[in-house]
């Protein structure tokens, strides 16, 4: 896949014998690599036969986080990389995206959206779609998780 360097793909079983897949990889900061990364993670989720609606929510959140990392974090510089980590099971999806930028402006309110502005909707959507969204201290690492039974809009 274009611009994707996969370091780890493992299928494991937890103590209860349930399968989960862990994937870690880095991509160069390019739109084509973002598309390839999303396709690869979607394939992994489909491999575990997860519910379509659940997969779609995680897929959109991953794509939004990667596009933020590419355009805003890495300022579209193809020499920079984006690191991605995913732990996917039938009960929970956890996604990590880290770029080389200076981070999300943490003082901004991401719980609402300027309805008519064509931009600035990515993190708002992620917060609506995922159960938990954590941005680390430096602001350039986002951790998103989604449980099986969650509803939309939990992150108000």
């Amino acid at each position: 896949m274009s611009g994707v360097s996969v370091s780890t793909v493992v299928e494991l079983k937890d103590l209860l014998g349930q399968s989960f897949v862990e994937i870690r990889f880095a991509i160069s900061s390019k739109e084509t690599a973002v598309a390839s990364a999303v396709a690869m993670v979607r394939s992994a989720m489909e491999m575990l036969a997860l519910d379509n609606n659940w997969v779609a929510r995680a897929e959109l959140s991953l794509q939004e986080a990667l596009l933020n990392a590419h355009f805003h974090g890495n300022e579209s510089d193809p020499r920079r990389t984006i690191c991605v980590g995913c732990v996917i099971s039938a009960e929970k999806i956890e996604l990590h995206v880290e770029d080389e930028g200076t981070g999300y402006p943490l003082n901004r309110d991401y719980s609402s959206v300027d309805t008519t502005n064509p931009r600035g909707r990515g993190l708002f959507l992620i917060r609506q779609l995922m159960d938990s969204v954590v941005i680390d201290g430096a602001g350039n690492h986002i951790v998103m998780s989604l449980g099986k039974e969650s509803n939309y809009g939990n992150q108000h």
Binding site: E31, E59, L60, Q63, L67, V113, N117, P118, Q128, Y152
Partner: protein
């Protein structure tokens, strides 16, 4: 993503198929701009075969709406699938656009 333009009576429909996301940016803008230049001010966007939509595509719809309104028309969204419709509602697009379900 595939884009097809359909004309019926006085209605112009942009029929989209597949993933409507950041990769569709140029083609969608070009299509809308071309239709506006040819005098079409109201555009129906058929979403019935769109499986995935992201924030870039939502931005494209807002830009199209702005351009069509300047030309005296509007953008109408037609038959979004369940998941796409959920994303539209989350972003309050049902308050900005006429959505035909």
């Amino acid at each position: 993503m595939e884009i097809n333009i359909k004309q019926a009576d006085n209605n112009t429909t942009i029929a989209l198929k597949g993933r409507f996301d950041f990769q569709a940016h140029q083609e969608f803008r070009r299509t809308v701009d071309g239709l506006l230049r040819s005098g079409k001010a109201t555009l129906m966007v058929d979403l019935s075969q769109v499986d995935f939509i992201d924030s870039s595509a939502l931005g494209l719809l807002l830009l199209a709406r702005e351009s069509c309104e300047k030309a005296g028309g509007e953008v109408i969204l037609n038959q979004p699938k369940d998941y796409v419709d959920k994303v539209l509602r989350l972003c309050h697009f049902d308050q900005l656009f006429q959505v035909q379900r």
